[in-house]
Symmetry: C2
């Protein structure tokens, strides 16, 4: 039985990253692509519960959806592939990193979260850089990690968040397993005035960088490694339960 | 120095839950409300990076934003309150629960995530029910938990996700500290045909309920308790790092 692979992303069905990924993963099995019809970056794990979705069938294996990455994965697994459960979901390859606590905003990672919640071993793939993206170099590692997950699966509620430096293949030093890093936040709001004299605001201004945490995703990619972070979906902060019990239940 | 409290939500500035919360929290300090101008349920941790935001000043202390809960909190902390850092962020009170792994979709919880990322102790408040909401009963516990966090703060990267049963005060059994539960997912896509004969799709159909996990948020509220779950923002699945290292780095 050939393996069945579902691909989605947040840069949209026409992005370079998803095309390249599609080509390479065909080597590993039967590949379905279900992706947003346009760029959905920073939509996070949004699910469209209050409006219906349109689905465009481009080929028997490629579909676009007028929704978020989460919508696409949900519609694929619960609809299009309802009787053909995929063995693997791969989201990407995203233009730009998804690292540190920024992953909670990420459409790319959210697609992998949705796959995980729906019981499919899932990987999020991102190319770390700011333009002049060359996906070719990242494909070797994408294939290798996809192959690993196809063969070994993943623990329940766990996905892999993979960030690959935008470097020529020979300059990539290898794979490291990392933890989620931490961004420094201090972004002033940018205020502007429109032609009608009314103010408007931009959020997410300057980048202050990341904390230099040992073994973190950001440190790994800066040093030229492919970063693989296992991400869990149980967000409970277990080590704070006892203190809360002692404090709150006493009052 | 009076404490400064920021309130936001995902049901929108005109929802009953945020009004009631505003009234009660005034007892604890100076309260600012910065909330979406309309319902933003299930938008998750979306940040509007690609379009500007409009801000409507309703009073010196109340503002509405044409964006997501995350946008509101970001604009409040980095903009409106830039020189007046709040001591506490409270998101809610939401109409409907935010429990189990569904919290990754939640606008209510995302507002608290954004507050946490920006260094403000944060609480997400939800009223568990399906209509006939009576916020009055929830207010006592909302005030109590807000007061606790104002006095004791929270560990870095940790927020409290609070779910309160929609029950008369005397029927609420008290507070329990819980872990994040797990929903059972098996939701068929609902296919419909529009008046022009074109298909469209609804996601999120039937509710299958939750796994009956001991000490979980869902079990607590079903038994009539206020559920308080500490939620962490480091999603690293630490206990899977060693296996990945052994497996992936060997290959």
């Amino acid at each position: 039985m050939p393996k069945r692979i579902l691909i989605s992303n947040d840069d949209g069905i026409n992005s370079e990253g998803i095309h390249k990924l599609h080509e390479i993963l065909k080597k590993l099995g039967e590949v379905y692509v279900v992706a947003p019809d346009r760029d959905q970056s920073a939509v996070s794990h949004s699910l469209s519960l209050y409006r219906p979705l349109r689905l465009d069938k481009i080929t028997d294996f490629v579909y676009s959806v007028d929704g978020t990455p989460t919508d696409c994965v949900n519609l694929a697994i619960n609809g299009i592939l309802r009787d053909k459960k995929p063995d693997l979901l791969v989201s990407g390859i995203n233009k730009g990193e998804n690292i540190g606590d920024d992953i909670t905003y990420s459409g790319t990672v959210s697609a992998a979260m949705e796959g995980t919640l729906l019981g499919i071993p899932s990987i999020a793939l991102s190319l770390v850089g700011r333009g002049d993206f060359n996906f070719d170099y990242a494909l070797h590692h994408s294939e290798l990690i996809a192959k690993y997950v196809l063969e070994n699966k993943l623990p329940e509620d766990t996905l892999l968040n993979v960030n690959i430096p935008n470097l020529p293949g020979e300059q990539i030093k290898g794979i490291v397993i990392t933890r989620q890093g931490k961004r420094l936040y201090d972004e002033p709001i940018v205020e502007k005035v429109d032609p009608r004299g009314k103010k408007y605001y931009w959020i997410g201004g300057d980048e202050l960088g990341f904390l230099n945490i040992d073994s973190s995703d950001i440190v790994a990619v800066k040093q030229g490694y492919v970063s693989v972070t296992p991400i869990g979906l149980d967000l409970t902060k277990y080590d704070h339960i006892d203190k809360l019990r002692a404090d709150l239940l006493r009052e």
